[in-house]
């Protein structure tokens, strides 16, 4: 039972991380109609910046704050230099151009930091188990990920639902031309939205850095999952991304641990270790296939297209 609760929390934590990645993706796609494969690169940059700046400043919090700012800047620069030329073009062009960006970023990271990857050690004050329920302990850091992510999700909700900018974002997600026709400074709006997406991706990247990985190619691994979540949740819908991400996070984590146990009953430990992740991934893709068949616009689609 303890294990189950822990696994659920792990799944929730992973899901929230995925949500932040998917939220940026779905915003950018919903508002600018831009397919950005290089979103995962911003995730990677967030992680690398966090590891580097934490080492430089000696402070975890300071390093993380600078990293977030840095990723935001990189995101906005990418928007101004590259993305602006892609708006309105065929999706194939987006895919190719952002694929080129992935190559560029991967190699740039390799050039600057070398091929080996980095590590980001946890500060001691976060590296302790916390008692969340009588007798049940959970890592303080993972708990803080959950708390921060939920805060960010709440902040996003507030931003999108209760502010002027959020209204523009929602309007843009369901009718792009109208927002432009209303005289809003579209260029600035787009840069800000893209920057927001980049910051979210960077935040996800830096949060997982101490417990998962900081390596080249980490963006490519997770971006597919982010796209799947976007499709399941409905393009342009942050609420959809939230629900879908939690679902996917839980399926992936619970799937891995329980499939491992299941398979170990009949097969060897090695077989279980390699087969379980495969099965839980398959389950996620199967879910996407079912959603696409039953409700092709996604569960909470914003309505455009």
């Amino acid at each position: 039972m303890t294990l189950f609760i822990e696994q659920c929390l792990n799944g929730l934590q992973f899901g929230l991380l995925l949500f932040m990645l998917a939220a940026g993706l779905t915003l950018v796609f919903g508002i600018m109609d831009l397919v950005n494969l290089a979103h995962g690169s911003l995730y990677m940059i967030g992680a690398y910046f966090a590891a580097t700046f934490t080492a430089w400043t000696g402070s975890f919090l300071l390093g993380v704050a600078i990293a977030l700012g840095g990723t935001l800047l990189v995101g906005m620069a990418v928007e101004v230099i590259v993305m602006r030329r892609l708006y309105g073009r065929d999706h194939l062009d987006h895919v190719l151009a952002t694929f080129g960006l992935i190559l560029f970023f991967d190699e740039s990271v390799r050039l600057i930091w070398g091929p080996a990857g980095l590590s980001l050690p946890l500060p001691s004050w976060l590296n302790a188990p916390v008692q969340i329920l009588p007798g049940i302990y959970y890592s303080a850091y993972k708990l803080s990920i959950i708390i921060v992510s939920l805060a960010v999700a709440a902040g996003l909700y507030f931003l999108v639902m209760r502010t002027r900018i959020g209204m523009l974002i929602r309007a843009g997600a369901s009718n792009r031309e109208m927002v432009g026709a209303l005289g809003v400074n579209i260029k600035l709006l787009y840069t800000l939205v893209f920057g927001l997406g980049a910051a979210l991706a960077g935040l996800a990247g830096l949060m997982q850095a101490p417990i998962l990985t900081v390596q080249i190619g980490m963006g490519e691994i997770i971006i597919i999952l982010a796209f799947v979540i976007t499709v399941i949740g409905g393009i342009g819908s942050i609420r959809g991304a939230f629900v879908a991400a939690i679902f996917v996070g839980l399926i992936d984590t619970l799937g891995r641990s329980y499939f491992t146990d299941l398979i170990r009953l009949a097969f060897s430990k090695e077989t279980a270790a390699t087969a379980a992740p495969a099965l839980s991934s398959m389950l996620i893709y199967l879910l996407m296939a079912v959603v696409l068949v039953v409700r092709p616009e996604g569960l909470f689609s914003a309505g455009q297209k």
């Binding site: 194939l92 895919v95 151009a97 960006l101 560029f104 597919i224 398959m282 996407m288």
Partner: protein
């Protein structure tokens, strides 16, 4: 025919002659590596040609095409691992498995459009990647070594470097020929019409879904053949062959060479891989150049190499 002598056709002729004479050049200069490099280029050109059929001619942006390389390759690899080296068993299975996979993926994906289609083909290919990576018996993540190349009852010797090169070259020429006949046939015109304006095709009376599905299966099967060739070329298969970024590489080849042109995929494969060789000699960080280069091609030279050739006019 007056129209035949233009920049494009001259270029094609040069490339074909050069490829055919390559082993002779290698024999004279003693440069064995160039044969290995160009064998790889030719095999990937076959894969790119198959992708061009659905992407360039059919307008179907599949981001999961590398999956068929893996399926064809693993068909050969798995049989070899179990001690069955006969090509007469391995290769038909490679083709049939690729066709079946394409049938299932296509049947589900082709009901969607645009970015959903891209995502769903990508996701299914990743699913195949995870399945293969999950097969501990066949190497899992580490891949599978193949100790003996496909044996066709002694009729052909695939272990001979030069012979294998010409074998692949003939398969490439055959595939290009097949694509040529396909795209100009009734079937091909339907596919091209659907790419051009699907609503109109339905309005004038074509049940477009089934034609696209058949096209998708043909393309997948041809790529499975390329996969079987890869397995024999590298004597090794791994899930990395099917990773989604490899599908991206194939798309790059098709676009770079010129979508919807017969020889575009070949040009694209040659360009990409030769560029890779040349650039990595200059700097080990050559992808920093390739990335922006791709961007520039997308923005300014969408027709690819074939498109640029078409623009060359003689006085």
């Amino acid at each position: 025919m007056k129209g035949w002598l233009n920049a494009r056709n001259v270029f094609i002729a040069i490339v074909l002659v050069a490829l055919t004479l390559l082993p002779v050049y290698a024999g004279i200069t003693g440069d064995r590596f160039v044969v290995t490099l160009f064998t790889r280029i030719i095999i990937l050109a076959i894969a790119a040609t198959s992708l061009n059929l659905i992407l360039g001619y059919g307008g179907m942006m599949s981001f999961g095409h590398a999956a068929y390389l893996g399926i064809g390759g693993y068909a050969v690899g798995i049989f070899a691992h179990e001690g069955i080296y006969s090509g007469f068993i391995q290769w038909p299975v490679a083709l049939i498995m690729s066709a079946l996979f394409a049938l299932v993926i296509g049947a589900l994906s082709l009901r969607t459009r645009g970015v959903y289609f891209i995502m769903i083909t990508l996701a299914f290919a990743q699913m195949a990647y995870y399945v293969v990576a999950g097969l501990a018996r066949y190497g899992g993540d580490d891949g599978l070594t193949i100790y003996k190349r496909s044996d066709f009852a002694g009729l052909v010797n695939l272990s001979n470097k030069t012979f294998f090169y010409y074998f692949c070259l003939i398969v490439l020429y055959a595939c290009i020929y097949i694509v040529w006949r396909l795209v100009n046939s009734r079937f091909g015109l339907v596919i091209q019409g659907v790419r051009s304006n699907e609503t109109r095709m339905r309005a004038i009376g074509f049940p477009t879904y089934r034609y696209r599905l058949v096209c998708f299966v043909i393309a997948g099967t041809m790529c499975g053949l390329a996969g079987a060739l890869v397995a024999n070329h590298t004597d090794f298969v791994s899930p990395a062959m099917m990773y989604w970024t490899r599908s991206g590489d194939l798309i790059v080849m098709v676009v770079l060479g010129g979508m919807g042109s017969l020889f575009g995929p070949l040009f694209g494969a040659v360009a990409l891989l030769v560029l890779e060789e040349v650039l990595s000699g200059v700097t080990e960080y050559w992808q920093i150049i390739l990335g922006p280069l791709l961007l520039l091609v997308v923005l300014f030279a969408r027709g690819g190499i074939d498109g640029l050739l078409g623009k060359v006019r003689h006085a």
